[in-house]
């Protein structure tokens, strides 16, 4: 009996110790991803989301800005909601590298002990977060689309699509700090910048020499190849499996052509090789928010809809009246795309032509 009692007391004690250890961590941090003169939009979005979390928890929101001659961007981060910015500004951080940025981030995180760290789910944001979380032995949730906090237990509730997007899962991290998450771009909303806001800039220096770093950048090549232009498009015409083959997918291009729209695609269409991955909309592609999204022959698996459901007006054309895409569509047509779309093209052409005549 006594032994059981003793073990129970031990467990209680351990729990107390853990809570005490965790309570030393305070503050919401956002990694400010920069490309020289500007901050990546996702970081501004995260400052907006982080502001809400910090206010709920009654703690400060900080940006972590790593680069070379990037101090002006610290002011921008403050205008977008940060109370303070940890600035690491040294020539060695001119370009992003896992090895250097990780050392810098871990250095400030170990020194100032944040409670929550948010990173954009970008190529470099994910790379950095994965390395940092391993070194800090922290919990990291990938590709979050919904963020909230449980104020009582001070737990970050990071929700994300799982199992190919068929379901949402909420991930908690109860036993380690910081609680880390990467967050998909274009899901959170940035605040309107207020340049009258003031905040602290805390400059840190990291002892690091180029000869300790194994990876060198030989060249950065800006791709001249095709861009899908999905992120800025007012109108996107997207096609899916229902179009049958590469030839059928041409229908999407034809409608996009008359509308001056960008072309999107479901994962199935991309995997079938009808169009390149640059055009893929959805969980493993890009997230888009055009004014008008026209989905042709797309059934509407969650994998796809998580990437387009925040579009202004959604138009769906699909043969199957039970296709889930219709639940998302502002307007839906149950019908054969090969009949509907050519008529739609004609109609638009006729209208556009009429307009030209008026002028």
């Amino acid at each position: 009996m006594e032994a059981i009692e003793e073990r129970r007391r031990q467990r209680e004690l351990e729990k107390q110790r853990l809570l005490e250890a965790l309570s030393q961590y305070r503050g919401v941090w956002v990694f400010i991803e920069q490309r020289g003169e500007s901050i990546h939009p996702v970081s501004l979005e995260l400052l907006g989301a982080g502001r809400k979390l910090a206010d709920k928890l009654g703690i400060e929101l900080s940006g972590v800005l790593i680069g070379d001659q990037v101090r002006p961007l610290a002011e921008t981060a403050i205008a977008y909601g940060a109370d303070q910015v940890y600035l690491i500004d040294q020539p060695i951080f001119r370009e992003y590298r896992s090895e250097t940025f990780m050392k810098a981030f871990v250095h400030v995180a170990e020194k100032y002990k944040p409670e929550i760290c948010l990173f954009g789910s970008t190529i470099n944001g994910k790379d950095l977060a994965s390395a940092v979380a391993t070194d800090l032995k922290a919990g990291l949730t990938a590709d979050t689309t919904v963020l909230d906090v449980n104020v009582e237990e001070r737990l970050l509730e990071a929700s994300r699509p799982a199992f190919g997007g068929n379901i949402m899962a909420t991930i908690l991290c109860k036993t380690a700090r910081p609680q880390m998450a990467t967050v998909r771009p274009r899901v959170m909303r940035a605040l309107d910048p207020d340049y009258s806001r003031t905040g602290k800039i805390i400059e840190e220096r990291v002892e690091i020499e180029e000869n300790q770093i194994k990876t060198k950048i030989i060249e950065i090549v800006k791709e001249v190849q095709e861009k899908a232009n999905l992120e800025e498009a007012d109108i996107i015409v997207a096609g899916g499996k229902g179009l049958g083959d590469a030839k059928g997918f041409q229908l999407v291009h034809q409608l996009a052509e008359v509308l001056g729209a960008s072309v999107g695609a479901s994962r199935d269409a991309v995997e079938a090789g009808w169009i390149s991955h640059a055009h893929q909309v959805g969980q493993t592609g890009v997230t888009v928010t055009p004014k008008i999204y026209i989905a042709i022959g797309i059934s509407g698996a969650v994998q796809h809809t998580v990437g387009m459901q925040n579009s202004g007006t959604i138009i769906a054309i699909n043969k199957d009246p039970n296709a889930p895409i219709f639940n998302f569509a502002t307007l839906g047509i149950v019908g054969d795309a090969f009949e509907v779309v050519p008529k739609l093209i004609e109609e638009i052409k006729a209208n556009l032509y009429k307009e030209v005549q008026h002028v």
Binding site: T122, F163, M168, K214, T215, I314, T330
Partner: protein, 273 residues
Amino acid sequence: MHILVCVKQVPDTKNAKLDPVTHNLDRRSTTAITNPYDTHAVEEAVRLKERYGGSVTVLTMGPPQAVSTMKHCVQLGADRAFIISDRAFAGADTLATSYSLACAIEKITREVAPVDLVVCGKMTIDGDTGQVGPGIARRLDIPPLTGIIKIESIDPSTGEIVVHRKLDDGYEILKSQLPCLITVDKSINQVRRASMPNMIRAARFNPVMWSVKDIEGIDTTKLGLKGSPTIVSKVFPPPKPQGGKKIEGSVAEQVKEIANLLMARPEWIKKKA
């Protein structure tokens, strides 16, 4: 050159069905496949072996059924295969997984041959995180090179490796030093068909199976559910969409309504000059 590839057997999420009540994955609706991203990792390792000589070892953590994935890797050209399988590994998140795999890689380094290059797929289709590869690199304290679309060259004598890493608006050419870890993008190669000798070899192949007690020095508090800081607290269906209105009537009427909607804001339409 000794190349080690980390692979995972995953449920094919593409056709996965979920139990409408519990939201758990209905395993009967899926088949177990080799994570598609990992097949590109194995392919790249085999191509490097063909270019520079050496051998390819594959490693997985999973249930004993992962033997079929190991055989698949042998079909693709892997020389050796190791499975770490134990109840103690169950429920691992990315932090615990990277620890477990790193411990196994250290054992392979000690007992088989030092690992010069670790190759991982970009992510798995079930976990969908891409965090384990970089995590292993940190555990082994070797440079992580993620999202690699091309391996330009390796100099086996100096250990210098030159790769192309994908960026949002292009790519960067990086030079690093073996041993290092790369995660590969699908675009890095096309997976070739298995050769007849490899198929025959795979049919008879038995991978080495290790349990936790076979891995000397492993810290059992860092494994599985116990060693995982993150937990799934709940699952729920995606948010209910706002929509559902269908246009009735003839095709002509349907087309008219959509055209009207599109023409209502002509400034959104970018007419060809």
